[in-house]
């Protein structure tokens, strides 16, 4: 049980929300004064391993020819050159194209609100193909869904981790939120390693359309009141068993926060609702919920918030063309709606959104019109503070058995690490250089601790 949550629960169960929090202070509340600004990070996890090789495709003649040599029309996973939504990064001499389903976010790149991080992945240190083949610096369980999700969510690639970098970032910035019992972390996609800190734990909320309240306990008759009182009493019991304790405290926390949260997420007067198309797009429904919470930031009263949302289905071993068309269309549409919402709320410069995913996929196609599990992958970072219109990291040489391919099927050794990606975002969020190792413990292995994209 972490200290801050225990105190949160103590405060809340004592009715502190209603009566004010005077007399109650977190041990470290005075250690750092609250910043005057508001910042939020929004993590979009693309579960299954998004095929970045078909999300960002070289569009100039030489680049597309290399792509077409492996993923040609006979491969069943070819994207035609004419269909690419082209862009030219300001810091590159090459032209690239987005997947044709991504027309919604495409303009954000040229507007400087969207950056591409090329060929990023878990690394123990800057690593070459030769080092990998010699067994040096190899992250554990490459190409395994569960293990690579964990490494993207934790930055820790030498052993299984118990906390995620979102959670540890929340630990680092918690003091900026003062004594506010509202958690730094909110997940709209359930429990994840990403949102697990050493002392911070997330509030988990339903997607837009759901509610977050207990039903059947508002009766004012003696019987109903006695039942509600008994429920409150029994949530405090049996805690000598650790799993009972864990269940009880999670329930207590949820009940305590529901009075503040439920009116926000069930509000019918939100100004951002009509910016989202949530039908058939669960990511849009989740990001709408995030937008509503950001809209209510004054009510919630936090200076720093971290959100987690996700979309599944990216494990495209087969039928990738159709599946990814739908999924990337949903990602693109949801991200654009969310950007527009932050702009409408006047916080576009205060909210940075970024993607994570299990891994990239083999450049070489596999039977069934799909691709298999690989390593380095391309990602997107979006927001007003983002130094967009540019590509960071190094785009891989798209050649089987080439300098970046470690197995012969087009599994790229990453050019930049998850540690660097996380540290860059943490720096923007207000973590000093001396605090980066608390967020990304292995950042010391990388000379460049800021990729410069935000």
């Amino acid at each position: 049980m972490n200290l801050s949550r225990r105190n949160t629960l103590k405060a809340l169960s004592a009715g502190a929300l209603a009566s004010g929090l005077s007399g109650f202070t977190l041990p470290f509340a005075s250690a750092q004064s609250a910043p005057s600004d508001y910042k939020a990070l929004v993590c979009i996890f693309l579960f299954g391993g998004n095929d970045g090789n078909n999300m960002i495709i070289p569009a100039d003649a030489a680049g597309y020819a290399a792509y077409n040599a492996v993923r040609g029309p006979d491969s069943n996973i070819n994207i035609a050159q004419a269909d690419l939504l082209t862009f030219k990064p300001g810091n590159s001499s090459s032209t690239y194209g987005f997947h044709p389903a991504m027309s919604a976010v495409h303009p954000l790149f040229d507007q400087g609100k969207l950056a591409i991080i090329a060929n990023a992945g878990p690394l123990l240190a800057p690593t070459t193909k030769a080092q990998y083949l010699a067994g040096l610096n190899v992250p554990y369980q490459l190409f395994s869904h569960s293990d690579q999700q964990a490494q993207w969510q934790s930055t820790i690639s030498n052993q299984p981790a118990r906390s995620g970098w979102g959670g540890r970032l929340a630990d680092s910035v918690a003091s900026m939120n003062g004594s506010n019992p509202f958690p730094v972390l909110t997940s709209i996609a359930g429990s994840t390693l990403y949102t697990t800190g050493n002392s911070q734990s997330p509030l988990s909320l339903p997607s837009s359309g759901g509610s977050f309240t207990l039903s059947g306990l508002t009766g004012t008759d003696a019987i109903s009141k006695a039942r509600a009182a008994a429920l409150n009493a029994l949530l405090l019991q049996g805690k000598d068993h650790l799993l009972v304790k864990a269940a009880a405290e999670q329930t207590e926390q949820a009940i305590a926060l529901s009075a503040k949260v439920n009116p926000i997420i069930t509000s019918t007067t939100s100004s951002v609702t009509n910016l989202f198309t949530t039908t058939g797009n669960s990511l849009a429904a989740q990001l709408l919920q995030v937008a509503k919470l950001i809209e209510a930031r004054a009510t919630i009263g936090l200076s720093r918030q971290i959100f987690f949302v996700s979309l599944g289905g990216f494990d495209t071993h087969n039928n990738q063309i159709n599946t990814q068309q739908t999924l990337l269309g949903n990602v693109s549409s949801a991200m654009k709606s969310f950007y527009d919402a932050t702009a409408a709320l006047g916080v576009a410069n205060n909210v940075t959104t970024f993607t994570l995913s299990d891994f990239g996929r083999t450049f070489k196609p596999s039977a069934g019109g799909g691709s298999d599990h690989a390593w380095g992958n391309h990602h997107m970072v979006m927001g007003g503070a983002v130094k967009g219109g540019a590509m960071y990291g190094t785009f891989p040489v798209q050649q089987l058995n080439g300098v970046d391919d470690v197995t012969g099927e087009g599994r790229w050794v990453p050019s930049v690490s998850v540690d660097q990606y996380a540290a860059t975002l943490a720096t923007w969020f207000g973590v000093p250089a001396s605090g980066l190792a608390a967020v990304a413990p292995n950042i010391g292995a990388f000379a460049n601790k800021n990729l410069g994209f935000v």
Partner: protein
């Protein structure tokens, strides 16, 4: 009552292990040990002698009071396996000591200052630090006397292991297991209740009565022999829904009104899952199949066709008590799995640069047999010279298995000519080989290879499945998983090893005998014995078990509709895990308490509220009969077992404690519940029962099955 020893011996001979309830016919323990405490003297004292009780009850004025703690014990001649427990008195400190060891008795007799006071009661000795199944450990603490500033030397004895351990913080020495005590009928009823929470979809009052009478060994025998419930076979439908197949909401509903829902989702199978889990007689088979469905995962999120998915789930039921190797092959060649993990119509490398699909190859090794790291038999990870885990397979071995799993296609449909190439999609039956697409080049297997010998698809499959099945990881990997699903999320290494040993050899030289493995899991001392008191023991009732648990407690009659709807809102739609990685990881550790407990992976602030809201909906809501379900019968509860005793709130709480809490209801929770129940008029017995069940379903203490 020595008559029972022959009976017990015969049961041992015909079954692998004795269970607590197997000794149901054994003598009811005639002795009751009562604990007293003298606060001014800071002394505990236990005695089974009614004359002692009477004496101490008269000495309340000098501080002697009953603590409320009692234990069961044998009196002389009740049980052949019981030994005398000797009582000693040390007048210098005014304290007693008890031992079941004749050796210790003889040693104490030689020490001046100890007065032998004869035989206190009869109990069984621990064996290798453990108590046999069917008995309860009595743990001893010592307060270290004046040396530790605790006043006169004194021992206190505990059956509750966590309570025992908590005495370390009070400066007491934890002296371990002193003896093993028999179970009374009440204790046996609780063991039956626990077994029904581990091995069925929840106990009902009637089933607790029945199994207590039957005995748990006989119950297991009955369950292994019970006829499997059947998911209704459904007709083939093409992958793309015909425009004519829609959901027609026109009333009244007909069998074909909801064509799209009934054929292009798993809805009918999911309803049958709940209906049969709640009312079926083959409880153990269904519960094991539900666990297997979370090991050999396929999901309707990817394959939303009920005819094939139902066929797969029935296959798991039909093979739940068979052999693991058989199950591996049935799973591998089932076309729904073939579709889900891309083995169907997988082919050898093409000249145009397309590789064999690696999906099934990777996941059968990672999830269905071996796991990612090499394991010891006790489930712990082996370590390499660098102190790190050793990966269980290489990428080259994945590629080898990917080649093995080429050249298989969907079953030929009745009345349709088989294709010389790949058949079109058909998700029921068994996949068929197409040798022209099978990769006949050399293949790496686990520490082995298949040479370029032109093996047939089936010959290569046999070699590869034998290779994976024979790997040393399989017994601990699968055993730990099944223990987690049935008994406890964080089993001891010894528990995993004992079950893995049975997986390796069922006693007759057979590897992978699932019936033996399940028996070993459910009869192990860690499933039945004092480990249940440990503060990390057990596992959360995942949503499917939460709703069936209440349904069976209330002896529900149901068409399944209500419970299907309810569990969806709790974060678990049966047979629809997000991916092949199931709803949660077997390795999930609850961050706040640092305990491995897989089901907590889908327990968060949203589902925490949803669970309490389910209690409200089920107990107080109106459950309507669906108008969108042909032949709907709705859901009816039988409140009688609870309402019939509800006029007396203590009697009601006794019953709720047994059925819902397996006896683990704390005094404080009980007091809180009693206050709420007593607010409801005595005449409203159903209202009282509702209040009790609502709070029981919502109570954190009832969320953890232990």
């Amino acid at each position: 009552m020595r008559v029972n020893s022959a009976l017990v011996a015969s049961m041992v001979a015909t079954t692998v292990t004795i269970l607590g309830g197997a000794t149901a016919q054994a003598a009811e323990p005639a002795a009751t040990i009562v604990e007293f405490f003298n606060a001014p003297a800071n002394k505990y004292f236990i005695t089974s002698n009614p004359a002692d009780w009477a004496l101490l009850d008269q000495y309340a004025s000098i501080g002697w009071k009953r603590t409320g703690v009692t234990f069961s014990a044998y009196s002389q001649g009740q049980d052949a396996s019981a030994l005398p427990v000797y009582r000693f008195y040390a007048p210098s400190v005014g304290s007693h000591f008890f031992t079941v060891s004749a050796t210790e008795r003889d040693q104490l007799a030689l020490i001046p200052g100890f007065v032998a006071e004869g035989i206190a009661w009869y109990a069984m000795p621990p064996s290798s630090g453990s108590c046999a199944a069917g008995t309860v450990g009595l743990y001893r603490t010592f307060n270290n006397g004046a040396a530790a500033g605790n006043g006169p030397a004194n021992h206190r004895y505990f059956e509750d292991y966590s309570f025992y351990q908590s005495y370390a913080a009070k400066g007491y020495a934890l002296e371990g297991l002193s003896m093993c005590l028999p179970q009374s009928t009440a204790e046996k009823r609780l063991d039956v209740t626990r077994l029904l929470k581990q091995a069925s979809f929840g106990p009902s009052p009637a089933e607790i009565d029945r199994v207590t009478t039957l005995g748990t060994t006989a119950w297991l025998t009955e369950q292994f022999a019970a006829t499997a419930s059947q998911y209704t076979p459904r007709d083939y439908w093409p992958n793309t829904r015909p425009d004519s197949c829609i959901n027609d909401t026109t009333l009244p509903v007909t069998p074909t009104s909801y064509c799209a829902r009934d054929n292009y989702s798993m809805f009918p199978t999911q309803l049958e899952f709940y209906k049969q889990a709640i009312t079926g007689n083959d409880q153990l088979r269904q519960r094991v199949a539900w666990a297997l469905s979370q090991f050999f995962v396929i999901s309707s999120t990817d394959v939303p066709l009920s005819y094939g998915m139902g066929d797969y789930q029935q296959m798991l039921r039909d093979n739940a008590f068979g052999n693991f190797r058989t199950l591996m092959e049935k799973v591998t060649l089932h076309p729904a799995m073939g579709r889900f993990l891309d083995m169907a119509n997988n082919r050898k490398a093409t000249t145009t640069g397309i590789s064999p699909n690696e999906n099934y190859a990777r996941e059968i090794l990672q999830l269905f047999t071996n796991g990612v790291n090499l394991l010891n038999d006790d489930g712990s990870e082996k370590q390499g010279p660098d102190g790190k885990p050793i990966e269980a397979y290489t990428q080259d071995e994945i590629k080898g298995f990917a080649k093995v799993f080429t050249g298989w296609t969907y079953p030929t449909r009745a009345g349709v000519a088989p294709s010389a190439g790949f058949n079109g999609q058909n998700l029921a039956g068994t996949m068929e080989p197409r040798e022209i697409y099978h990769d006949t080049t050399a293949k790496d297997l686990l520490g082995s290879t298949i040479g370029p010998a032109n093996g047939t698809a089936y010959a290569d499959l046999t070699v590869a499945l034998d290779n994976a099945f024979s790997y040393a990881n399989v017994p601990p990997f699968f055993s730990r998983f099944m223990i987690q699903k049935l008994v406890t999320g964080n089993p001891s290494p010894g528990y995993v090893q004992r079950v893995a040993t049975v997986f390796k050899n069922n006693g007759s030289g057979i590897r992978g005998d699932l019936k033996a493995v399940i028996t070993a899991i459910l009869t192990d001392i860690e499933a039945r014995g004092a480990a249940k008191f440990e503060p990390t023991y057990g596992h959360m009732n995942e949503p499917a078990l939460l709703v069936t648990g209440l349904a069976r407690a209330l002896s529900a009659k149901t068409d399944g509709y209500y419970f299907y709807n309810s569990s969806n809102g709790l974060g678990q739609t049966v047979f629809s895990a997000p991916t092949v990685f199931n709803y949660y990881s077997p390795d999930y550790v609850v961050p706040s308490v640092n305990v491995n407990s897989p089901e907590f992976g889908i327990f968060n602030s949203t589902t925490a509220l949803s669970r309490v809201n389910f209690a409200n909906s089920a107990v107080y809501g109106t459950i309507n009969i669906s108008t969108a379900l042909y032949g709907a019968t709705g859901t009816q509860f039988d409140w009688t077992p609870f309402s019939s005793v509800a006029a007396d709130s203590n009697a009601l709480l006794d019953r709720v404690n047994e059925v819902m809490f397996a006896g683990k209801l704390s005094a404080a929770t009980r007091a809180a519940m009693k206050t709420a129940i007593d607010t409801v008029p005595v005449s409203d017995t159903t209202g009282r029962a509702r209040a009790a069940l609502y709070l029981a379903v919502a109570a954190p203490e009832a969320q953890i099955l232990r």
